[in-house]
Symmetry: C2
Subunit: 173 residues, 2 copies
């Protein structure tokens, strides 16, 4: 991309430099959900159509987009902007779990949905957050782990199948 | 394979023909679990180390192997040898749901775990079986649907993510 800009699109390079520079000035973290925004509080947090009783904790802005694309969630978010990873020196301080605690203790939140990834770091992060929030009397839930929609047993790894079996649920009408 | 056998391995072809012919004679369905076996009742059904209170319903012998590879299941099985598929003319008669009903009503079974695939046919089959078994007072459960173990939200389809969100569960200690 750099070579293309230098050789064939020097105007474009100037525009890109300007846009990046403007973004650096304008974009910062929403004081409520920690996602990127140009205002003090982002549009999603100020929307009256969202259910303030639900707070979904996710690792990154990309995960927020994925959740929104499902059209299945009407609550609010908290974006960690990372995950616990002791080997990389990322502890509770670095992902600001204290801010999440403040956010979840605002009196409106009733349920915190942990939607961190099902990787080792994501699971450890979910565990740490649940340990942090449960003593505050908040309902803490985790998104389901199991066989993907459309999935066939024959092509699912045995770890996932074992979990799906362990976490089986009664069939409802 | 056929060309290889005809050109280079005519002895092998004869052996294969014999083996197939023997198998056709010897291998039939286990009267209890409907899986392939050479005896009247298969080894798994006669094993004393399996928990007779659990009955797991699966579509095919390959799925049984997958379940066994998880080392997470100690109960018994019922192999449907197919799934409901009205477009292909496969109804409850063809997959012998009456035999499953007999098998589940043996007085020992307490819980029937539906582990058919999460495809349209597999889901329809699970639904039909649960409608059939629930009036008999049996506990009917379904293996969990959700994000695979090791999965990241960013790479999961939105249908699966929506289901994982809907079927979220309280975090236990």
């Amino acid at each position: 991309m750099a070579f293309h800009l230098m050789q064939r699109d020097r105007n474009g390079a100037e525009k890109l430099a300007g846009a990046l520079s403007d973004a650096l000035q304008a974009v910062h973290h929403c004081v409520q959900c920690n996602n990127f925004t140009e205002s003090k509080i982002c549009e999603l947090c100020t929307s009256e159509r969202r259910d303030a009783r639900l707070l979904c904790v996710i690792e990154s802005p990309a995960d927020l987009l994925m959740m929104e694309q499902t059209h299945a969630y009407r609550g609010l978010y908290f974006v960690l902007m990372g995950r616990l990873s002791p080997l990389d020196g990322i502890g509770p301080q670095e992902i600001r779990l204290d801010r999440l605690l403040d956010r979840a203790s605002n009196g409106l939140t009733e349920e915190v949905i942990l939607a961190t990834n099902f990787t080792a770091e994501g699971e450890a992060t979910a565990h740490a957050i649940s340990e942090l929030l449960r003593p505050k009397g908040l309902k803490v839930t985790r998104i389901a782990r199991g066989v993907p929609v459309g999935g066939e047993l024959e092509y699912v790894d045995s770890g996932t199948l074992a979990q799906a079996l362990l976490e089986r649920r009664p069939v409802s009408r």
